[in-house]
Symmetry: C2
C-alpha cells in the first residue's frame, strides 16, 4: 500500500518515454505507457545482468518500482515479459540498422555497416537474444509469433541490400537470398560469441571484429579486398574511425 503517487523514477530510459515534455498534464494513458516502458527497461536490465533464470519477477518489480502483481497487468507471465523485451530490442535494432544503411552508398559499405552494427548491438545486450530459444518450446508456435514477424522485418534490411546489390552487379552468383542470409547472420551471432570469449582473455580486439566482418562481407560481394575502389576504402575507414571515437568518448 501507500508508495505515493507512483514516482516512476526509472521510467526515463531513453526509448519512448519523455515524448511530452509537460510534467503535470499526463493523461492516464500516457502514464500507463510510460510505466510499461519502465517495466520493460527494468526487465531488460535484470535479464542482461542476471540471465533469464537468474532474475525473479520480484527483482523486476522492485527495479521498476511497482508491486509484483502489477507486472501481470502489463504482461501475461514471465515468458511474455521476456518476449516484450526481445520485441523492444528488435524494434530498436531494425530502426537503427535501416537508418545506418540508408546513410551508406555502396553495397559493400552497407553490408559492412550492417555487420558491425549487428555485432555491436548483440554483444552489448548479449543475453537478450539468447533468451529466445528458452522461450520457444516448439518451432511451430514460434513460426506464428510476433517475434518471428519482427525477426523477419529485421533481416529484411539485409535482404534488400542483397537484392539491390545483385541488381547493380555488385553481388555475383545466383544463390538464394536465404542462403546468404543464413551465412551472414549465423556467422555474426556465432562470431560475436567467439569474440566475447576471446575478449575475456585478451581484451576487446577491434582487429578481430574487422577480420571477421571483412572476410564475411568479402564472401558475399565478390570483389577481393585489393579490388575495392578508393572511395569505398575511405568510406569504410571513416565508419571505423567514427565507431572508435564514439567508444572513446563513452569512457
Amino acid at each position: 500500500m501507500a508508495s505515493g503517487p507512483a514516482e516512476t523514477t526509472q521510467a526515463a530510459t531513453d526509448s519512448d518515454a519523455l515524448s511530452s515534455p509537460s510534467p503535470t498534464p499526463q493523461t492516464r494513458q500516457t502514464r500507463v505507457r510510460r510505466r510499461e516502458g519502465a517495466i520493460i527497461s527494468a526487465a531488460r536490465n535484470m535479464f542482461v545482468t542476471h540471465g533469464y533464470a537468474g532474475t525473479t519477477m520480484a527483482m523486476i518489480a522492485r527495479e521498476a518500482g511497482v508491486a509484483d502483481g502489477t507486472l501481470y497487468t502489463y504482461f501475461e507471465n514471465k515468458d511474455a515479459l521476456a518476449r516484450g523485451v526481445i520485441s523492444d530490442f528488435y524494434k530498436r535494432l531494425t530502426e537503427s540498422s535501416q537508418k545506418g544503411v540508408d546513410g551508406r552508398r555502396t553495397t559493400r559499405t552497407k553490408l559492412d555497416f550492417l555487420a558491425r552494427h549487428h555485432l555491436g548491438q548483440v554483444m552489448d545486450e548479449r543475453g537478450i537474444i539468447e533468451m529466445l530459444p528458452a522461450l520457444t518450446t516448439s518451432l511451430s508456435d514460434y513460426a506464428g509469433s510476433e517475434l518471428y514477424r519482427l525477426n523477419k522485418t529485421y533481416v529484411a534490411v539485409f535482404d534488400r541490400i542483397v537484392r539491390e546489390g545483385r541488381a547493380c552487379g555488385d553481388i555475383p552468383g545466383d544463390a538464394d537470398v536465404s542462403v546468404l542470409r543464413d551465412i551472414f547472420y549465423g556467422a555474426l551471432d556465432y562470431g560475436g560469441k567467439s569474440l566475447m570469449m576471446r575478449s575475456l582473455r585478451d581484451g576487446v580486439r577491434k582487429a578481430d571484429m574487422t577480420r571477421l566482418v571483412d572476410r564475411l562481407v568479402g564472401m558475399i560481394v565478390g570483389t577481393s579486398s585489393s579490388a575495392r575502389s578508393v572511395a569505398d576504402r575511405l568510406e569504410l575507414a571513416a565508419d571505423r574511425l567514427e565507431a572508435s571515437l564514439k567508444q572513446v568518448e563513452n569512457k
Copy 2:
C-alpha cells in the same frame, strides 16, 4: 519403494552401456554406470520433446525408473543434468564426425561431410544445443567449463581439415582459422534453424540443405563448382545418395 533390482529398461541407448554382454554378473559399478546412462538418456528424451523449462525432475525420474532423489546422487542439480546431456551429445558428435571425416579423401568432401553431419545431428536433437545459453549465466564461467572444452574438441575436427587443406593448397587466403570456423558453424546453426522453420511449411527439402552446404563449403575452398574434379563430384554424389538411402530405410 521396491522397483526391484533396477531393471534399467531405458538404459540401452547406444552410447556407452552394454559393454559387458554378460547378463547376470553385473558388478555394482557397472550397474551404477548403466543407471547413469539411463538417467542421461531419459533426460535427453524429455528435454528434446518438452524443452528445458517444460521438463520437471519428476518427469525425468519417472522416465528413468528411479526416485526423484536418486537424480541428485548422479547430478548436482537440474542444470548439471542438462550439462551432462550436452556433454554426452558432444562426445557422440565429435566421435562420429571424426570417423566420417577420416573416411573422406579431399578437403572438399571432408568439409561437405562435416557440414551435412553437423546439420543433421543438430536438427535431429535440436533443443539439446539450444539449452546451452540458458545454462551459461556468465561467459566467464563457461570459459572454464567442461562444456567449453568439449566444444573446442569438437570444432578441432574442422580446424584440422582447414589446416591440412591449406597446407596442400586446397584452401586459399590467409584468414585466421577462427574466422572460418565462426562462419562455418555459425552459418550451419542458423541455417539449421531456418531449414526447420521452412520444413514446417514445405516439408524437408534436401535441396535446401544442399544449396546451403554447397555455398558455404564453396566459400571456404576457393574453387568454384565448375572447377571441381570429376572424382570429387562422384564422391559427393555418393555421400548424398547414401544419406538419402539411410533416411528411406529408416521409415
